[in-house]
Point group: C2
């Protein structure tokens, strides 16, 4: 009798996937709402937000990798964004085949008003107890990292893949990590998922850091 429920149950990972899917649906819907106000669709919005964090401009293929869509799709979307005067395309200096995509002044203005995430999602996350937020964040970073290892998304500018990252080197439980670039100790909640100062670690260091981080 005690096992009545477990017997007909699905594996936890599958149920987690289901829950993740539901959140994903909500996020996508919010994305339409949020970007729609500015006359954009989700893909265009994502491109703009992505560009917002990169002053130096991005290649077309880099954008495609980041958003995990095909190059033609990005080519199309960027073309419409150019039409809307939010981004500009220029020839890359170092490669005559390549283009450099960056925000125009109008684009920057728009991105400034745009939040990266929908308001409801943001509110919901904020309503969680802070310890749960930090725990969730750490778990999400772990998932993101594993997805990168699996080649599903490009290596993001996260602390855990940075050459300046020194995980768990301090005794302080609240701030166990260290950033060798700015020479500061910090905690899990200050870990970055998209740091402008990020410089990729070599494979060996990355693996080593990852070990120290998750243990």
């Amino acid at each position: 009798m005690a096992n009545t429920l477990e017997k007909t149950d699905f594996p936890l990972a599958q149920k987690l996937g289901h829950a993740l899917n539901r959140v994903q649906v909500a996020m996508r819907a919010e994305s339409w709402e949020k970007f729609g106000e500015s006359g954009l669709n989700p893909t265009q919005g994502q491109i703009l937000v992505l560009l917002g964090g990169r002053e130096l401009g991005l290649r077309l293929s880099e954008v495609a990798d980041e958003l995990a869509v095909s190059a033609p799709t990005v080519s199309d979307s960027v073309a419409t964004l150019v039409e809307k005067r939010y981004v500009s395309k220029s020839k890359a200096k170092d490669d005559a085949r390549a283009v450099s995509i960056r925000l125009t002044a109008a684009g920057k203005r728009l991105v400034g008003q745009l939040d990266a995430v929908g308001a409801t999602i943001q509110t919901v996350i904020e309503s969680l107890p802070e310890t749960e937020q930090v725990q969730l964040y750490k778990t999400m970073l772990r998932i993101v990292r594993e997805l990168q290892v699996a080649g599903k998304i490009p290596v993001a500018r996260m602390c855990v893949t940075c050459r300046y990252f020194r995980p768990n080197v301090h005794d302080n439980v609240c701030r166990p990590h260290h950033c060798a670039l700015v020479d500061a100790d910090f905690g899990d909640q200050t870990l970055r998922s998209d740091c402008p100062e990020h410089e990729p670690a070599d494979e060996h260091l990355a693996a080593q850091n990852w070990e120290s981080f998750v243990s």
Copy 2:
């Protein structure tokens, strides 16, 4: 000096949103891959998977609500699925305006082969320590519930909104909850996010249960 990183940092909720977005990108890309093998796109696949859990058939509008897209979109997608012979449409008995959408035999066969989530995501989740999986699951359920309260997604068939759910009534730390339908105690990892036996609780009971659950 100690605050060097924190000063230039973003709010945690925003960084969490960013991480969630990245996972979402990966999931969407996997969705294309996975469903593409069967000649489907993500939306068609989602509809099929959704229908897979509902023997009795669903209204068009219910599908639209579940996937958080407009009725015309579902109308289109269902039409192409009918063409592909995976689903059938019939008039609803109780309402001559409405249709009942359900899987055909071929549709059931296909859904049987389809996983709800992409293989990589599944693997990544499974690679997490089990305690972290359970914690993540609980947090995700909480987020899903909050999204429902906010009206962003329809009330799912989760334990926490079920009239048979009795949260935290047992002393056993591993199995504190109780299902009054099958009369069994169970733990967080056995909580359901889409239970076929689900019967919605009234508002009062739902609120009360939610309180007991999260505290």
